[in-house]
């Protein structure tokens, strides 16, 4: 794989209105590449692993930017930066889970420009795929990571289907836990997608990690007030505290009646191709109190059904321990 120093020759469009941007993505279809902070863009282009025919910069569109209160919660524009999310007082007060997740993304410089839309829309981090190899995800008929010699320490425990790459986004786990809704627009109209359905696995769509169509733009993310101010827990385990993607992360929301858990959502990142909900843990958590004993009881349920690859068995105890930690009083 040669390494290139320079950007390929790609035209850049900087629409100021959402309508113009929608026309551009319609016009360029699969060749159109929507730009937020661009931090998951330039590497692909410089390595010639992806060859879009046009870059469409969304940062000039005011309607896509900012955090607004709605009748039922918050609406976050897709080009709102992670830094703005971390610093926002409303998010800090009611949805601190999202702020914690955003604060663990990449590095300070990347959070300064990286957008929420870009973070949830980023592509798989499997290095075979990123090297431009013709794997399943790239439209080929082979998975390099799931082969006898494949290096798959970072890959999936659950729901793999041909491709074994995992969901890399830290904010995605938090948004699934908070039951967010993604708003997508195209020239043909507007679509609301539950965060859980927004992220799709390889069995549904082998070349795309989200249910966005090529002519659609993610315009905003809505967070309902349902979980506002409830008990949150977010933790990300990565090789380095900066830059690295989660080996395993966990985002938990819980409503409490005194010391007792009445309702909860447990979502793990880094273990499946989508944010992975721990349904069994959620069911078993109802009626329990926060304690080490509860943690031990729930931990065993976390990794049921895991199908580890050659090098990622360690993710099983990691998941279990993150559930234990989320349940500490």
């Amino acid at each position: 794989m040669p390494s290139y120093d320079v950007m390929p020759d790609v035209p850049l469009f900087q629409p100021a209105e959402i309508g113009d941007a929608l026309n551009l993505v319609e016009q360029f279809g699969k060749g159109g590449w929507v730009l937020g902070g661009g931090q998951d863009t330039y590497g692909w282009l410089k390595d010639r692993a992806k060859q879009p025919t046009a870059l469409i910069d969304l940062n000039g569109i005011e309607a896509l930017h900012g955090i607004r209160q709605t009748d039922d919660g918050l609406e976050i524009g897709a080009t709102t930066t992670l830094r703005e999310i971390i610093a926002n007082p409303l998010i800090k007060r009611d949805y601190e889970l999202l702020a914690s997740a955003a604060s663990r993304v990449a590095s300070p410089q990347i959070r300064n420009v990286g957008t929420l839309g870009g973070n949830v829309g980023q592509d798989a981090r499997c290095w075979y795929y990123r090297r431009g190899l013709a794997c399943y995800r790239a439209g080929g008929n082979l998975c390099y990571a799931d082969s006898p010699q494949g290096m798959n320490r970072e890959h999936a425990l659950f729901d793999a289907s041909r491709c074994v790459a995992v969901s890399p986004s830290d904010t995605a786990t938090a948004l699934v836990a908070l039951q967010a809704t993604m708003i997508a627009r195209s020239v043909n109209g507007r679509r609301e997608i539950a965060a859980e359905d927004f992220f799709v696995g390889p069995a549904t769509h082998i070349t795309n990690m989200t249910s966005l169509e090529p002519d659609e733009i993610l315009t905003a993310v809505r967070i309902p007030s349902h979980w506002a101010g409830s008990r949150f827990y977010f933790e990300k385990v990565a090789d380095r505290d900066v830059w690295d993607f989660a080996l395993v992360s966990i985002a938990v929301v819980m409503t409490m009646d005194g010391d007792t858990i009445t309702n909860s959502r447990f979502v793990c990142g880094g273990v499946a191709c989508t944010p992975y909900r721990l349904h069994d843990v959620e069911n078993a958590a109802r009626g329990r109190t926060l304690s080490d004993e509860s943690g031990d009881a729930l931990a065993a349920l976390a990794s049921q059904g895991a199908k580890p690859l050659n090098y990622n068995h360690f993710k099983i105890p990691l998941m279990e321990n993150l559930v234990r930690r989320a349940m500490r009083g």
Binding site: V6, M7, L12, S107, P108, Q109, N112, W243
Partner: protein
């Protein structure tokens, strides 16, 4: 164009000098910069000319090529390709080679510059997305008479750099940290500089430098 050995569009000192004096200032650095500015080095022509293949005009509706950039307080007119990164523009069009390119993938921090008070990886910023915002590079820190910025001086006094290649990036991250938080704890400094790698591993020296800079500013 002036004598190519002294012409350097990014160097305000040379532009302000009386014409006769500039020849005496000709140094190895000015010579290299002059060569870069005149595009005479074969290796650099690749950067400058990529995307300039004959017959390839910009697509309809795409961005203007000739733009104004606010760099270190000066408005600079510069011809920028649609796909050009800020690091390329700064280094190879404006001659501001203090901003270093290392990984070119937003994974090391050597190219860190400050845009409107925020640190950015200039290798992973399209120049066209900068717009009217102000760009500050390591060259913009020194005083009017060329005296070092107190942060630069602190980095020297504490022997911050080892090889020095990541230093401009480390200093730009420190500039932003100390503007926001003039008296950071060592841990806050560590977090503020966490987006800048140092392959020499001189992190503790850098943190010593930041703490000293916070004392003297």
């Amino acid at each position: 164009m002036k004598d190519p050995t002294t012409y350097f569009p990014g160097d305000s000192l040379n532009e302000a000098d009386p014409p006769g004096l500039s020849a005496f200032r000709s140094s190895r650095r000015a010579f290299i910069k002059g060569v870069i500015a005149s595009g005479a080095v074969a290796a650099s022509s690749g950067y400058l000319l990529s995307g300039c293949a004959p017959g390839e005009g910009p697509a309809a509706g795409s961005v203007e090529r000739l733009i104004s950039l606010n760099v270190n307080g000066r408005i600079r007119r510069v011809d920028v390709l649609p796909n050009e990164t800020l690091a390329m523009t700064l280094r190879y069009k404006l001659g501001l080679t203090g901003t270093k390119l290392a990984c070119d993938r937003g994974e090391c921090g050597a190219c860190t510059v400050v845009i409107d008070g925020m640190t950015n990886y200039s290798c992973s910023t399209l120049t066209h997305t900068v717009g009217s915002r102000s760009v500050r590079t390591i060259e913009g820190l020194e005083g009017p008479d060329g005296e070092l910025h107190p942060i630069q001086q602190a980095f020297i006094d504490e022997l911050g750099p080892q090889c020095g290649f990541c230093t401009p990036g480390q200093i730009m991250s420190t500039v932003v940290l100390l503007e926001r938080n003039p008296k950071p704890t060592r841990d806050e400094a560590r977090r503020a500089l966490s987006g800048n790698l140092c392959r020499c591993g001189a992190y503790d020296h850098y943190l010593n430098s930041v703490m000293r800079a916070a004392e003297v500013i």
